[in-house]
Symmetry: C2
Subunit: 346 residues, 2 copies
């Protein structure tokens, strides 16, 4: 690759001229070179290198009607998830997959209710080919907006209204929260534990309710006193554990709806002199490196592939976009499997 032209960026025209072919042929080569004889392909390739040619995106987009960009929408109440390693990993998964398909990630942060208008306008403006959105709420306007704008969208996490026989069917990617929870609780039961408590997450999130449901699937008529709700934070996990201990001193196992809360539980257990897993076995959920590596004893937990979920969201969307041109159906949802990872806490 030698020096690029000093002034403006070279156009396809320039490449064609230098290679001694027509603009059409140059274009064919730039786009894969199918149906062009190899000597010409070579010539054009060389011209591209020598000139440092890079296709003008706007021009291409104007004729192809494809932007090569995808929006990632993060709604206001979810903005905090930005600081959540869970979310950041998901974004990275998305980024990887999009990158592999030469697709750009446009970040749309909603700072307030008024922003929905802006987003709607942006989506309608044809700036992106599709969208990815996270953790919808019951009355979330996002689905309506993307639909009206005709923007294919894939969601991260099961939307809260999906369980009901709601008409609005949307494709989403989520971990098998319920199944994973079931496995964790069964494992504790098979360990011989008799009083298995659950520290649930905030019950307005489907990941929390699904995990609670999984717990109940196994322990169908367990004492309600064995369930305490937290907020997916270490602190709330500690508080819930304290409550649980006060209410049911005889408990011999705890399944926490995430690792952070499990860490909080571990801390309180230690403070109260209960040995883990001797007196109380503890299982978490997520298998977040940062947490799992720091607990003592090392946390047994339900692993989910967060990075993979992100990739999957992107892949689903991209596939849907391809199919769209062929007029076939929208992508279906995917539930990703979980795995119980045995360590020392249970």
């Amino acid at each position: 690759m030698s020096e690029p032209t000093p002034g403006a960026r070279p156009t396809l025209e320039a490449v064609a001229a230098r290679a001694g072919v027509s603009r059409a042929t140059a274009s064919r080569v730039v786009n894969g070179g199918a149906g062009v004889r190899s000597p010409l392909v070579e010539k054009v390739r060389r011209a591209v290198d020598e000139l440092g040619y890079v296709p003008n995106h706007a021009a291409r987009s104007l004729v192809t009607r494809r932007t090569g960009a995808v929006a990632v929408i993060i709604a206001e109440p979810e903005i905090r998830i930005f600081s959540d390693p869970f979310f950041s990993q998901q974004i990275r998964g998305i980024s990887k997959e999009l990158t592999a398909h030469d697709t750009q990630l446009v970040l749309l942060l909603l700072e307030g209710p008024g922003d929905y208008d802006r987003i709607a306008r942006y989506l309608a403006g044809g700036h992106v080919d599709g969208a990815l959105a996270f953790s919808l709420h019951t009355d979330d306007p996002i689905p309506a907006i993307t639909q009206r704008a005709g923007i294919p969208t894939v969601y991260g996490g099961r939307p809260s209204w999906t369980s009901a026989a709601d008409q609005r069917v949307v494709p989403y990617v989520d971990a098998d929260n319920r199944g994973g929870a079931r496995e964790a609780v069964r494992y504790l039961r098979d360990l011989g534990r008799r009083r298995i408590a659950h520290i649930a997450g905030p019950l307005d999130q489907t990941s929390a309710t699904d995990r609670l449901d999984g717990y109940r699937d196994v322990l169908m008529d367990e004492d309600p006193a064995l369930v305490a709700a937290g907020a997916f934070t270490e602190e709330s996990g500690a508080r819930a554990m304290a409550e649980l201990l006060d209410r049911c001193p005889g408990l011999d196992a705890v399944f926490a709806a995430n690792d952070l809360m499990a860490a909080g539980a571990l801390r309180v257990l230690k403070e109260r002199g209960r040995s883990v897993p001797g007196d109380v076995a503890v299982v978490g959920f997520d298998d977040m490196d940062a947490v799992v590596g720091a607990t003592d004893p090392a946390l047994t937990t339900v692993q989910q592939d967060v990075d993979g979920q992100g990739r999957l969201m992107a892949r689903l969307l991209l596939r849907g976009l391809d199919r769209e041109r062929e007029g076939s159906a929208a992508p279906a949802s995917v539930i990703t499997p979980t795995t119980l990872v045995r360590r020392d806490s249970a």
Copy 2:
């Protein structure tokens, strides 16, 4: 706003036809309507509403040579900052400012060394008008890449080579780390503290070295044993505090380079039975809500306006882009002020 045209999106042509004006006039109205008589403006506006017209971005971009998008580049080693509330707040500041100027945020995550090529290509492809990048390293290829691509770029955090008489002058936004540190240490000294220790951050980051420099500005020939380096994490702060206590049992104050480490220090101090601020006064840096609210006693710290820094980065870039068309100079760097926030720990 009535029904949009069933099939494809309406074009300016359609709007013009419906309003009974020329495409040029319609365009003028859509772009602000300067120099168009109000009755016509009205007509066009109505047509726009009735048709649900939204300008085609690619077409506009093709002729204006402006994309209305800005890249936010996050280099591989910095990917972890994604999970750092500090960074997420900065991104939000950026997002707010860009949004206010109808500019989009394209997220460029570098996952590995090979990605630099990709970024270079992308930047050269004219997809964005400018770029924002974070915490450059000494030999970071990003500045060279953006420069070659002719993409104006503003950096977050002082690049590490800026202190030397390096040729590469780049505009950046950073807090007054050194000044803030000085203020914190002076405050402790004025409180009558005689043995003031410092828990520094990782010394390959300028924010850490600048704060250390600030500490030294005040305590010029202090015992080197009073300085311990951490890694900006709670855990590392705790470890550093333990070290410090072992080395200098007589210390009566600690200035930690960030709040997280101050929290760790507080924890160890409590474990070792030192009262705060009675025996040891503690000051942090950042004033991160999540941390400051949780410590006991409430943490006295140096506040910096993170959100504001993000906004400033975006504003600097945007202003630079405007000036670019007028051929004037690139934006200069900005150091944002810090404020000491007195609470209970010192």
